[in-house]
């Protein structure tokens, strides 16, 4: 059996790329990361591999492209069986997929509303964001992880996005820890995990990156 060739079209600050890198690390699968320069010209390979959206991450497995971070993480989970990222039973899987969908629909957009706004708009954006975090904290409950005893699919999808939370907190003048301490504790715990710590960019660098985007969007 030949070696699997895995290439990830990547961007250092992307929470979505982080998800895939964490999943691959959890599975102990080697891959090559190719950095895309999203602001100065996307590569031919990216445009060819993801013609619909031209977005990262893209996972190329033996040349075949898989797109959309949540779908890539599912693909990684199904292709390399162990450790399993989803619970064994159908209901547990369905719950995980429901929350993955909620996270994908709500978190990044709410966070973006924070750094893209000022004044009254910012206050509204903050409120909505914290409501979403509260809902997630509620779902976490007293479990160690969203999937139960072990770090899994939902944790991976969410912790990638958490890499931008520090920046949201700074732009919005709030602390998730004050509003949702259980959520903050879960995040802290995950950020210490090797597969996560090796992937998540430094908070200061993310803050600078978002500050640059704010400037580009004329918000200051």
């Amino acid at each position: 059996m030949g070696e699997d060739e895995l290439v990830l079209l990547d961007f250092w600050a992307s929470p979505f790329c982080a998800r895939v890198k964490i999943a691959l690390a959890e599975k102990g699968v080697a891959f090559e990361s190719r950095a895309e320069d999203l602001f100065n010209g996307k590569s031919e390979l990216l445009l060819k591999s993801n013609p619909t959206y031209a977005k990262v991450p893209v996972l190329l497995h033996n040349g075949k492209s898989v797109n959309e971070s949540s779908i890539i993480v599912s693909y990684v989970d199904e292709t390399w069986a162990s450790p399993a990222l989803l619970p064994p039973c159908a209901y547990g899987k369905a719950q995980a997929r429901f929350w993955a969908d909620y996270i994908d629909k709500k978190v990044f957009e709410a966070g973006s509303s924070i750094w893209r706004s000022r004044g009254e708009e910012l206050e509204v954006a903050k409120k909505e964001f914290l409501e979403i975090v509260r809902t997630l904290e509620n779902e976490l409950g007293d479990k160690a992880y969203f999937g139960g005893e072990s770090f899994g699919y939902v944790d991976i999808l969410l912790i990638g996005l958490v890499s931008w939370f520090d920046a949201y907190e700074r732009f919005g003048s709030f602390k998730v820890e004050d509003e949702s301490p259980k959520f903050a504790a879960w995040a802290k715990k995950c950020l210490l995990r090797e597969s996560v710590a090796n992937v998540i960019p430094e908070a200061d660098k993310v803050y600078e990156f978002i500050a640059m985007m704010r400037k580009m969007n004329g918000i200051e």
């Binding site: 075949k64 797109n67 959309e68 890539i72 693909y75 199904e78 209901y91 369905a94 997929r97 429901f98």
Partner: protein, 225 residues
Amino acid sequence: MAAANDVKLIGMWASPYTLRPRIALNIKSVGYEFLEETLGQKSELLLKSNPVHKKMPVLVHRGRPLSESLVIVQYIDEVWSSGRAILPEDAYERATARFWAAYIDDRWFPSLTGIAKAQGEEAKKAALAQVHDGLGLLEGAFEEISKGKPFFGGDRIGYLDLALGCFLGSIKVSEALNNVKVLDEEKTPGLAKWAERFRADEAAKDVVPDTERLVEFVKSMFAKK
């Protein structure tokens, strides 16, 4: 074999999202109790079963609720695994099916509702063009994925067929109310023929709403507003 009251589906005959699990349950030959919602009046059961989104469809299996139509379809596929498979066997094909289903929900369907929302001729034309562009992408996907077979799923309806097929009624409504041609056999011949096969399929034909009834229903909804 599950007793009919072991499986309940909260939904509504006109809702495209409700169609997805209904057809999935038909594919698996699973009986279920259909609890119909009245539009505009969410039932206690719905609110209790889907507190996060308060939307249908909700599948209640052995008393446990599940929401989000595509999540429900995957659950049905996994629980009733002895029935015909809905998702492809191969992981890469599964990823491709999920990709296009997400595209349909996140991009294409919102563009369809954009036609009705567009104000004025120019805006309507632009909105329609967007829908056609999307269908063009889906036509390409259909050619690639079906590999000459009648459905995205091959010989029979599968996950991606369900994801798109549930909106055939919405397409007809859009065409009737806006006086436009959305699914055009000249622009997307593959999909146009696929649509007829979908409506005629065993698992779909009894639950896909009658076009006239659906158009009248949507008209009456706008009249009430």
